[in-house]
């Protein structure tokens, strides 16, 4: 459980970045943070894993304030994928890179080796490849894999799909969804509303350092007021469903994976036409 209690944060004393942010994220959730550039999403993520400490208010991990935890203790519990994979990658082979996290935590050994081998197989990496020579999508996957291999209960992802083509994007999101299915809490910053609609179960909208909306994905996506404040446009599937009154109820029942509701839409359209 991650809890923000009236959190204020800033980088310089005079520039407020977060201005009274509160929310709770229970274990096993899949939350997406959306909002304009500079809204404070990345800052919120950095508060969550203790890289930044709040000026006022509290950030609690399972009830313990991050100010009382060492960053290495937090690192064991919270995996963090940065906006730029290149700041994270530091070893000369894919295998070493995946082992690095265990080394940093002092957990080398046969278990670590086995976990690394498993991940290399799962992601289909070449274990001896030089990480810096991989293409952008594969580097992003490697950065993600180096977190997955540690199996942290919470995974924070800052724009995991930015700059990836559709295929790589779906690959990354597929892995993230699987992590969530086996119990990991997922917190993701994402600018792609289609991805948000397809994968997140809950959306938190931020604007100018404050939370302006928070709720189940579909409820948030069809609230034009909050989305407007964050200069966001809902994905087309929401527009279409709102245009069809009958669809509305069906989608509320199954807010996840809006894109998979094509059949329901067709049914609704023919129902409308039948009247």
């Amino acid at each position: 459980m991650i809890e923000f209690r009236d959190v204020h944060a800033s980088y310089d004393e005079d520039i407020k970045v977060l201005d009274g942010v509160s929310f709770q994220i229970p274990d096993g959730e899949f939350v997406a943070f959306v909002g304009t550039n500079g809204a404070g999403k990345s800052t919120t993520m950095r508060l969550m894993n203790g890289l930044l400490k709040p000026d006022a208010g509290q950030v609690l991990l399972d009830g313990v304030p991050t100010t009382e935890l060492k960053t290495s203790q937090i690192a064991r519990r919270v995996g963090f994928l940065f906006q730029n994979p290149d700041s994270q990658i530091c070893c000369s082979t894919v295998r070493e890179e995946l082992l690095f996290g265990f080394k940093a935590l002092g957990e080398e050994g046969p278990d670590a080796e086995a976990a690394v081998d498993g991940v290399i197989r799962e992601f289909g990496f070449d274990a001896d490849a030089d990480p810096f020579l991989l293409n952008r999508g594969t580097r992003q996957l490697l950065a993600l894999a180096s977190i997955v291999v540690l199996a942290p209960p919470v995974v924070i992802l800052d724009e995991p799909t930015t700059g990836l083509d559709f295929r790589e994007c779906m690959k990354v999101m597929g892995i993230i969804r699987r992590l969530n299915e086996v119990g990991a809490t997922i917190v993701m910053v994402c600018h792609d509303m289609e991805v948000v609609a397809d994968f997140a179960r809950r959306v938190i909208v931020m604007s100018a350092g404050a939370v302006v909306d928070d709720g189940p994905t579909f409820d948030v996506l069809r609230n034009p007021h909050a989305l407007g404040r964050a200069s966001l446009i809902p994905p087309q599937v929401v527009d279409i469903s709102l245009a069809l009154p009958l669809m509305d109820e069906r989608l509320v029942e199954s807010p996840v994976a809006l894109a998979n509701t094509l059949d329901e839409m067709q049914a609704a359209v023919s129902e409308e036409a039948g009247r």
Binding site: V78, F80, S87, I89, G101, A104
Partner: protein, 255 residues
């Protein structure tokens, strides 16, 4: 937030001076500080430096700088204190003594470094780097290539510092304990980070070079610069002041 040595916009007198005059003043000022051991003169120079910082609303970075210089100069001063026995004996040491002279020397070192550093750093805070390099080309006839190399080197310092901060943060998130342990442990932890920093630096400089090249970098000459950098009365006054300060420092030392 403003980075280290990064230009802070403004329109104070210091901002408007000719870039070359500012640099010349800062350099002469620093030389003057090193030419004399007169405590009162050095204190006056320090006050002048602080006044200059205040005149262009740069007190905050100046204070930050002074703190950093203080830390460094205190180390030097302590070394001086322990290794430079002179004057009346104050404390006996196994290998000599700390005397009034040693204290004076230590104090002079701190004052001198503090005073000398402020205008040098201030010059970068109140001067756009492009202005600095363009003025060097126009006024001093420095070839554009060298001026550009200098400007981009200075420009990349904050960029690299940001990169380093991002990399350290990413490693901290993976459990590397930068916030624990002594300096030796920290340095050992930082060694692997040089790889990503180097890679990103080479990539960045490489793309910057290509970007400059495709925009006709090689065609640029002294005449290409549109803006002229004439020396105004204020500039000349500043230069005269600098020379006067230097002369005063030398005179005080000789007399």
């Amino acid at each position: 937030m403003n980075g280290f040595l990064e230009y802070v916009p403004g329109d104070s007198l210091l901002h408007r001076l000719n870039p070359m005059a500012k640099i010349a003043f800062a350099v002469l000022f620093a030389i003057a500080c090193f030419c004399t051991s007169n405590l009162i003169f050095l204190a006056a120079m320090l006050v002048l430096g602080i006044a200059l910082a205040a005149s262009c609303k740069m007190m905050r970075p100046a204070l930050g700088l002074m703190k950093a210089v203080l830390a460094f100069s205190v180390i030097l001063a302590v070394l001086l204190l322990l290794t430079n026995p002179s004057g009346d004996v104050l404390v006996e040491l196994p290998w000599g003594y700390v005397g009034t002279g040693s204290v004076l020397a230590a104090l002079t070192t701190i004052l001198r470094l503090e005073a000398a550093a402020i205008p040098l750093f201030l010059a970068f805070y109140v001067t756009k780097l492009t202005d600095l390099s363009n003025a060097a080309v126009k006024v001093l006839h420095v070839p554009y290539k060298y001026a550009f190399t200098f400007a981009s080197t200075v420009h990349f310092i904050p960029v690299f510092m940001n990169d380093m901060a991002a990399i350290m943060e990413a490693q901290t998130a993976r459990g590397v304990e930068f916030d624990q342990g002594g300096i030796v442990k920290k340095v050992r932890l930082m060694v692997p980070l040089c790889v990503p920093l180097l890679v990103s630096s080479v990539r960045k400089t490489n793309s910057a070079a290509i970007a400059a090249e495709v925009r006709g970098f090689d065609l640029r000459t002294r005449e290409s610069g549109y803006k002229a950098y004439p020396l105004t009365v204020a500039d000349v006054a500043v230069l005269v002041l600098a020379v006067a300060l230097l002369a005063a420092a030398i005179l005080l030392q000789v007399l």
